[in-house]
């Protein structure tokens, strides 16, 4: 008999019906009476001083209800915009990237708003942009911000001698003795790898609707991965306490980390408060690509020392991330937990830097910093295995860290299924057999993700019809509603149809951390589980006298509370819920559950890809793709397979075709889906998934983080496969047909 009856089942998403019928409401679908339309005036320069900003003509245009600039933002009076992260930054005195918002208009029609934007007069004094991270890091390069010191953003540094810098953050971790480690090595290999900025490519552009309420509060409808964090950010921008803002959840049309960023909602809320009208703002795809915060490009250098027998003795690595024109979100902090935790490395030094340039600022994208770092790490692991003449899979198994090992950042490694996933993949490939055929190659790579954990609450109502309502405060970006509904159904012994999940607005729902870091189901499930137990305790107290058995002798199944010793003694939940309201009851059955930050339950995914490279054109055809991932326990395998397949496809885009193109002034050149090419159905094969279940000790039922790990290994897996197929090693992404062809031609010359 299966351990669980609902958990572990391949069930359709509970939100699917509203989505296949077009009934689901997204931010852009919200319409209010008497609504105004907001539009942003953006900088044409990537680096310039604002000499004069004149909005008088725009304000005078008929139909224009408000024009705001940085001077009108209450939040900027309290805090430096440099510290108001993940939201639109109206330029003050200077612009630091092309398309930075300079002013915002609200008017009675989108056409008038657009016209008003054209009437805004801005005099710029263009400055030379700095576009290359290595250039930007040099001490002689002028700092983009005069008040930004490394690790001290917009506040005085501790060291009085320090100078403003374009290095926003700098992190170093050290373990063991590097010199000894490299001395012990028989082979030392060093390489530098580069990746380009890439966009999340969510299909839904940003949109927001805001309405000022009569009591001085403001209601906002917008897509956000974290309703409560968004509420806080909007409030900070408006200079209000957080509870003066109510954020209403709507469906979110793809996020992948990119929709913690709020490019519209704070502006929209400010316009609504100024005009006393509801205001809608929407971004075009072009605006999304110009100002929709992509993932950073990177330059990573890795030096590995190994013995002849293939044991790693030392690693030194530097990861540099291109932050763009704003110290938006640090990527270095993720390098600490996510690099080299998977391998046993006695001597190691890891450095990471976020460096400002005058390009589009960045934010987090699915396993932030880690696809970039693992492109370098796992490419380098492959190169070392080749140099040693070892099987790349065996080389990894041999160097795998185990539970209790200390990671480079000093953490004690919990149990992670490194060996189990590698062995599962070895078994799969063994069955599949070796790849035959000309110009074909197989690539392997691992992807590690440490995971995050926040604080979450949940309420459970046991309704008088015996159904259960779960109230949570987090937008569903990954099928979370369905998975937590499965937990509720499991715990109460009711069918899925009896469970409904309500994502409340921030006025009514319990606190929820943002849905980031693959933590949602992993962490939220604890709060949900506890809320279920709380409600069940109440039901047990109601059932015990009625069944005439102690509470410890009662179980829940088939919508009933039943005596363990005598299954004929049974009472339906509906009767218990009703009785709770009567004289002998305790009042409505309401369960409450909360959880503070859990230790993370890291996950690993092993990738194997077979490719065929056309040597005439350089085009890569992906013949097959397989991933084995340690998921702890699969609450809904259908949903997890979808996460893996989607992540891999994003990774394929990152590796082979996607990438921002800038001109020599830092202006984005590809602003449509025609020239920012993402994978279509014809670019990818079916993607085989193997869900390996090595229980975590911290997750309910043994759950782990799931959604981000499967993108991490994709980039190197493809680079390694292309190497196998052609003998050409590409260390720079994207590996376009041109790049591959160039590699093949250069190889021919040698």
């Amino acid at each position: 008999m299966a351990k669980y009856s609902v958990v572990g089942k391949r069930l359709p998403r509970i939100d699917a019906l509203s989505k296949v019928t077009g009934a689901a409401i997204y931010s852009g679908d919200v319409t209010l009476p008497d609504m105004l339309y907001g539009k942003i005036c953006r900088s044409p320069y990537s680096h310039a001083l604002i000499r004069r900003l004149d909005v008088s003509k725009a304000r005078a245009l008929e139909g224009v209800k408000a024009v705001i600039t940085a001077d009108d933002v209450p939040g900027y009076k309290n805090r430096s915009p440099l510290l108001l992260v993940e939201m639109a930054h109206l330029a003050q005195e200077k612009v630091t990237y092309e398309s930075q918002p300079v002013a915002v208009v609200a008017a009675t029609s989108p056409e008038i708003a657009e016209k008003a934007v054209g009437l805004i007069k801005v005099e710029y004094e263009e400055l030379p942009p700095v576009l290359d991270v290595l250039e930007a890091m040099k001490p002689e390069t002028p700092p983009i911000y005069p008040n930004l010191y490394t690790n001290f953003i917009a506040r005085p540094p501790t060291d009085k001698d320090s100078k403003p810098s374009n290095i926003a953050y700098h992190m170093v971790v050290n373990r063991g003795d590097l010199e000894t480690g490299f001395r012990e090595a028989d082979l030392i290999l060093e390489n530098t790898f580069r990746t380009q900025p890439v966009h999340h490519g969510y299909l839904e552009p940003f949109a927001a609707v805001a309405k000022a309420e009569a009591n001085g509060r403001v209601t906002v409808w917008t897509q956000s991965q974290g309703a409560f964090s968004a509420r806080g950010m909007i409030a900070e921008f408006l200079g209000l306490p957080p509870t003066r803002v109510n954020l209403v959840p709507v469906e979110i049309g793809g996020a992948f980390g990119g929709k913690s960023f709020l490019p519209l909602a704070p502006l929209c809320a400010l316009l609504a408060m100024k005009t006393k009208h509801p205001v809608r703002m929407e971004m075009s795809r072009e605006e999304v690509l110009r100002d929709g915060r992509p993932a950073p490009g990177s330059v990573s250098t890795i030096k590995i020392g190994v013995t002849k027998k293939g044991y790693i003795t030392a690693v030194s690595a530097t990861f540099i991330y291109d932050a763009g024109g704003f110290p938006e979100m640090s990527h270095t902090m993720f390098v600490r937990g996510n690099t080299f935790s998977q391998y046993k490395i006695p001597n190691i030094k890891v450095e990471a830097l976020d460096v400002l340039t005058n390009k589009i600022p960045v934010t987090y994208y699915r396993a932030p910093s880690t696809p970039q770092s693992h492109f370098a790490i796992e490419s380098q692991m492959d190169l070392v295995a080749r140099a040693l003449g070892m099987d790349p899979l065996q080389f990894r198994i041999q160097n795998t860290a185990v539970e209790g090992d200390i990671t480079p950042s000093g953490e004690t490694l919990p149990k992670v299924g490194f060996k189990e996933t590698l062995e599962r993949m070895a078994e799969y490939l063994n069955q599949k057999g070796s790849l035959k055929g000309k110009n074909r190659g197989r690539g392997l790579a691992c992807g590690f993700w440490h995971g995050a954990a926040g604080s979450w609450g949940a309420y459970v109502n046991v309704n008088i019809d015996g159904s259960i309502t779960l109230v949570i405060g987090v937008t569903d970006v990954s099928g979370s509603r369905t998975s937590v509904a499965q937990i509720v159904a499991e715990e109460f012994g009711v069918p899925m149809e009896s469970v409904s999940v309500v994502v409340g607005d921030t006025d009514t729902a319990p606190w929820a951390s943002p849905s980031v870091g693959s933590q949602t189901i992993y962490s939220l499930s604890h709060a949900v589980y506890r809320a279920c137990q709380d409600a069940k305790d109440q039901l047990l107290r109601l059932a015990s006298p009625r069944l005439g058995v102690p509470t410890s002798e009662i179980f829940f199944a088939n919508g009933h509370a039943t005596a363990k010793t005598n299954p004929t003694k049974s009472i339906p939940l509906t009767a218990l819920a009703r009785s709770s309201l009567g004289f002998r009851g305790e009042g409505p059955v309401v369960g409450r559950g909360s959880i503070a930050a859990l230790p993370p339950a890291p996950s690993v995914a092993v990738h194997a890809v077979d490719v065929e490279v056309d040597k005439e054109t350089g085009k890569v055809k992906i013949l097959s793709y397989a991933v084995a991932q340690d998921v702890g326990l699969a609450i809904n395998p259908l949903s997890i397979e979808g996460q893996i397949q989607g992540a891999v496809t994003q990774g394929i885009g990152w590796a082979l075709m996607e990438g921002y193109v800038f001109d020599d002034r830092g202006k984005v050149q590809n602003t449509t889906f025609l020239d920012y090419r993402m994978p279509t159905a014809t670019d990818v094969p079916m993607i085989d998934t193997m869900l390996v279940e090595v229980s975590s000790t911290t997750g309910i039922y043994g759950l782990r983080h799931v959604g981000e790990p499967p993108i991490v290994g994709t980039l190197a897996a493809l680079a390694n496969a292309i190497h196998s197929a052609t003998g050409v090693r590409l260390k720079t992404l994207p590996m376009t047909p041109e790049a591959i062809l160039k590699g093949i031609q250069e190889q021919g010359k040698q």
């Binding site: 989505k19 019928t21 996020a255 949903s639």
Partner: protein, 152 residues
């Protein structure tokens, strides 16, 4: 100007140079049709015009006068889901759901003309519809399974 949407006739106030997408979303408030790019390269706004899938962001309302338009709101009939809708739910082909209406309508138009598709034909057929969540795997399987179901 009159247009027929999901079997119902509407008198449209927008000018003939308004896109079909804007009329559907903003005048008729049929918001199931989504705008992802407005340049005809993502397929999120796909609707059927006389049974053929088109990007409604590229069609002006003046071009579809008197024609039969089907949007996602009209895909189920008499409260019964179209086999494609059922298959998309069952196979896990729906994640964020933003591309879903467009993919469903493209798939309907495709299966109507090709009831015995191969995997490769399905992939070709939906190549104009971007999906960023699913990796297309489960979408392709869902279309295959709906085709099986429709053949009985």
């Amino acid at each position: 100007m009159k247009i027929i949407v999901n079997g119902r006739e509407y008198e449209v106030a927008s000018g003939p140079a308004t896109t079909l997408l804007d009329v559907l979303r903003y005048e008729l408030r049929l918001t199931g049709t989504k705008e992802g790019c407005s340049t005809g390269s993502c397929g999120s706004c796909t609707v059927l015009v006389d049974g053929k899938a088109v990007n409604s962001c590229l069609v002006l309302i003046g071009e579809v006068e008197g024609k039969e338009i089907t949007t996602i709101e009209g895909l189920s009939q008499q409260g019964k889901l179209h086999p494609l809708q059922q298959a998309f739910m069952n196979e896990g082909a729906v994640q964020c759901g933003f591309c879903t209406p467009g993919v469903l309508l493209t798939a309907k138009s495709f299966l109507d003309s090709n009831p015995h598709p191969t995997e490769s034909q399905i992939r070709q057929a939906i190549a104009g519809n971007l999906c960023r969540c699913t990796g297309y795997d489960k979408i392709v399987r869902a279309i295959m399974s709906a085709a099986d179901y429709q053949r009985g």
